[in-house]
Amino acid sequence: MQTHRKKRIEIIVESAIEHRLVAAIEAEGASGYTTHPVIGGKGHHGAWQEIGITPGSGKLAIVVIASPELAERLVPKLYAAMADYSGVILMSDVEVIRSAHFS
């Protein structure tokens, strides 16, 4: 089974700016992304938890699988889009089977 090296970018970010990150992901030409729910956490901006109807605390995780080159271009864009807002960006190595499926 032949596999190909890709980067897995994982972003934890406020739902309020999801659209902005998705715009950046699409603009750079990533082949896709997936959003996951998040229920709580703590960081420099303090602790938070999904509690009911109050807004502003809502966060989600976005995962993008991208080629190393694309990741190199994309991460700074994502980073800039998140300036001022709370959140983190991680990147790690993953293997996928079909390379063509991802850009």
Binding site: A16, G46, G52, I53, T54, P55, G56, A80
Partner: protein
Amino acid sequence: MASIAQAAAENLLSPMVLFFALGLAAGWAKSDLAIPEAIAKALSIYLMMSIGMKGGIALAENGIDQRFLLLCLAGILLSFLLPFLAYVLFRRLGGIEPVSAAAIAAHYGSISIVTYIAATAYLREAGLAFSDQMVAIAALMETPAIMAGLFLAHRFGAPAAGTAAISANRPPLGRMAHEVFLNGSVTLLIGAFVIGWLTGGKGGESVAAFMFDPFKGVLCLFLLDMGLLAARRLAQSGLPRPGTLLAGILVPLCGAGVALLIAALLGIPAGNGMLFVVLGASASYIAVPAAMRLALPRADGGLAITLSLAVTFPFNIVLGLPLYAAMAQALLQP
């Protein structure tokens, strides 16, 4: 005075306030009692739908008069101007830095629809007449405060060294307006209002068993959740400093005072006047936080919610309602 104390005591023993207190107590004691988020959202959707439709039906049945239109205008103006007053108090008394003070001020210019709803339930219990279409004024007052808050932040928010005043990548105005006017609860409130107005009493009857009859019970469950939220908010962020806390009580009182004055000048009767006072006194914790979060990410959004949800809201529900009702009955025509 005696009657205010008595009204306050009676209010304290209403199911509404008791369920709110139960929520506060359970949250404070760290009970694992929790209303699932989806349910809390559904309850809020229900309340918006119900109060909006009720308002529209009332409009269809009673029509509109000039005094009501004047009150609408006054409400818009009040929502735009209150933040300036609030800004000064939160800066001076609260010692809050400019951008956060501006964001918080916007919350207080806007309104809390749940406080409004609780006020209608209070009036109904107290047997004081009011017009259901007052909810239109509540809807109109949701947003002007946001403009005022942004103006204040841009005017007084000193830029940090080497960065733009407000946000490096400020959201375009169109996006902001979208976020504000198409906020789910605003959309639903206005939409249901229009539906009520179009269908009139006949449409209302056919859905009453769902839309109106369970209203007060649903409100109790919702206030239970609000109590839990307020207590958890305080546990997470701690009690604000005394000055800030004081401002969180004084600003609504000032808002109430100004609103009462307007109601008296316009010759509004006591029931509607009390609701207008409640709009002046209450602070947003749904529409405005979302808008501020987007427009002023450097403002302390947590503090704003703590103040409006865990200080001003309980104050209004528990002490404010009887107080405002007494004020309105004393100064306005019956």
